[in-house]
Amino acid sequence: MLAGGAALAPTWADAAEEALFLGARLNRGRFEAAVIDEMGRDRLVLPLEARGHSFAIDPPRRRAVAFARSPGRFAVAFDVDGRDEPVAITAAADRHFHGHGVFTPDGRLMLATENDFEAGRGVVGIYDATDRFCRIGEFPSDGIGPHEAVPLRDGRTICVANGGILTHPDYGRAKLNLATMAPSLAYIDAASGEVVEKAALAPELSRLSIRHMALDAAGHVWFGCQYEGAATDRPPLVGRHRRGREVELFPGPREVLHAMQNYVGSVAVDASGTVLATSSPRGGLIAFWDTESGRCLGRQTLADGCGVAPSARGRVLATSGRGAVVNAGPETERVLTEAGGGAPAWDNHLRRM
């Protein structure tokens, strides 16, 4: 009896070792944030007022913040084990969230990419994670349309992808500046807000919006892009930036590049840090890349697949807008939840605790 009870209620130490994943989804007409395990089973479900996007995650303290998708103005901080009441966070009056954020490693601050829409510039909002997520300041992202942010391993710097696309919430998600886009990667000291390094693409790739990032084993930044230029162009969509060097772009095989339809929706690096996965919901595929050489290792099909998060070595857990949850690697794909049949529709991102 006692043993059975213990098995049902794992100790927190056990729980901390278990792989958990976070994703936003649409479930029978309701928007929610869900925590699932490695088999795709629900562990915690949190209602959201509208469509969610990605999460800031604080693994040591077992908590996360779910963000509204751009141009949403709500976020919710919650305990992934459901032990505390969620805390609602509202964007400042003249800002909206872009859907991504990070915690500082000490868990004191939460940083969110935001739009200062009247001025038409990107900022990183600073929230006190020790005091009910009060907004205590901001610093410029040094670009327009900051999207994903990732914390670097030095514990001080965050890298922000300035997608370069100007939007204003009055006009929904309409893109207002395609002719003058200037996407960039900004490395920012999280303590001072100082931009310590900035990387940009060649001028002829000004319409290649850098949006999502992941770090490889060596700590280099890998990114996936969405192209806003002519559909007949086929620019590379996957790149790497090593500090102090030029950005490198990897087109991959022609047929994979065509299939991605100028759009990468999400990126993740596997548990070993050596394999990058890039999803393209437009093409319905996940492509895998060797982070050493930039070589494309293979691909898997997943209709409307977008969420990808590290699983075991060489593998990712991936989710789709059709409700599928799969475990995928360059050579094989294992379906954990079939698409359809009323399964919740997973939104753009899946993140691992």
Partner: protein, 359 residues
């Protein structure tokens, strides 16, 4: 038995990368249908009316008068109504070289059109009054919204007399360039043009479309883009969160009171596009019901806008009309969701809300 199993295995390995294509219920000739039944007639109408507009502007400049001004204005209204359906195939030639923005610069949240057009009129900038040099200028100076200000904005009454000579020549230059862009579009969609053949004959070696599924994907994307544009960029900004925040001057073409003609013809265009694509023929009853549901929402959105009784400038604050516009917004959103969440899956596309409205 074993041989059959091996054969199955071998076939499975040979399946194309887009295995989903196998299960598609996309009309195989969807590109041909859309090009012939929707794009060609829409472009022919737009091309014809821009030419007429150019002519009417020329007549107005040559012999200014109230009647000539009224004729130019009426032809402008016809042009807007012909632009509605054209603006809904926002891919390929219409997005290349920023053609869409040259024809219809919107959203214009900082009022760039008003500022720049007034500047040209105040300075009597001759380089804006010649079609060739106007082409090199800001997109805000050369589309339908710019011409709307020339014909309906403050001071437009001078077009009926000699004082309006410069204004008239500038308006004519805009109309001439609209005619030119319409001709470029028609050429790019002509049966022997590369884009047309890619779109109507999708094949493995094509630069753009390699299967009917990819063409259908473009059509579905055009529909959701059009729905979101009409709702989020044209109607909702003027509606505001409540009547106090409403402002009809934030909607396109309020000066000429053509706002609802614009959105209405765009909705008609979307219905035309759905019908031209002929999704229903290849779907079962459940799939057909999805198409019907999209058309139902579009018809109701259109019906609500047709009932708006006050001019666009005030309609967004008048309680009853405000309700009609809100209702149209909800119906457009419904159609958008049905397309991205259901129609796309029903016709076997890999696209869903991640692909159609990702971030």
């Amino acid at each position: 038995m074993l041989r059959n199993a091996l054969l199955c295995l071998a076939l499975a390995c040979c399946l194309p990368a887009h295995a989903q294509d196998a299960a598609q219920t996309v009309p195989p000739d969807i590109g041909q249908r859309v090009a012939e039944r929707y794009v060609a007639p829409s472009l022919a109408a737009f091309s014809g009316v821009t030419g007429r507009l150019d002519g009417k502007m020329g007549e107005l400049c040559a012999a200014p008068g109230d009647e000539a001004l009224e004729e130019a204005r009426a032809t402008f209204a016809d042009t807007v109504r012909a632009w509605g359906p054209v603006s809904m195939f926002r891919f390929g030639p219409l997005v290349e070289e920023n053609r869409f923005e040259h024809l219809f610069f919107w959203p214009d949240m900082r009022g760039v059109t008003l500022r720049q057009v007034q500047g040209v009129l105040a300075d009597k900038d001759e380089s804006a009054a010649a079609a060739a040099s106007l082409k090199e200028k800001s997109v805000a100076l050369q589309g339908l919204p710019a011409l709307e200000f020339v014909l309906f904005g403050s001071g437009a009454e001078e077009l009926a007399g000699a004082d309006g000579a410069f204004r008239c020549r500038y308006g004519t230059a805009i109309a001439t360039n609209l005619t030119g862009r319409a001709a470029e579009l028609t050429q790019a969609w002509a049966p022997d043009a590369p884009f047309h053949s890619d779109f109507t004959r999708p094949a493995a070696g094509n630069a753009l479309y390699r299967s009917p599924g990819e063409v259908a994907g473009e059509v579905v994307k055009a529909l959701t883009t059009g729905l979101q544009f009409a709702r989020n960029a044209e109607l909702l900004p003027a509606l505001g969160a409540n009547p106090d925040k409403a402002n009809g001057k934030r909607t396109p073409l309020w000066r000429s009171n053509l706002t609802f003609d614009l959105v209405g013809t765009q909705i008609e265009g979307m219905m035309g596009l759905v019908n031209a694509a002929d999704f229903k023929t290849h779907l079962d009853a459940a799939g057909g019901a999805i198409v019907d549901s999209v058309l139902f929402d579009l018809e109701h959105a259109l019906g609500a806008l047709e009932e708006v009784g006050t001019p666009a400038e005030t309609a967004f604050t008048e309680a009853e009309d405000r309700g009609r516009i809100s209702y149209a917004g909800v119906a457009l959103e419904g159609a958008d969701h049905t397309i991205s969440e259901q129609l796309s899956a029903a016709i076997g596309l890999t696209m869903g809300f991640n692909a159609l409205d990702g971030d």
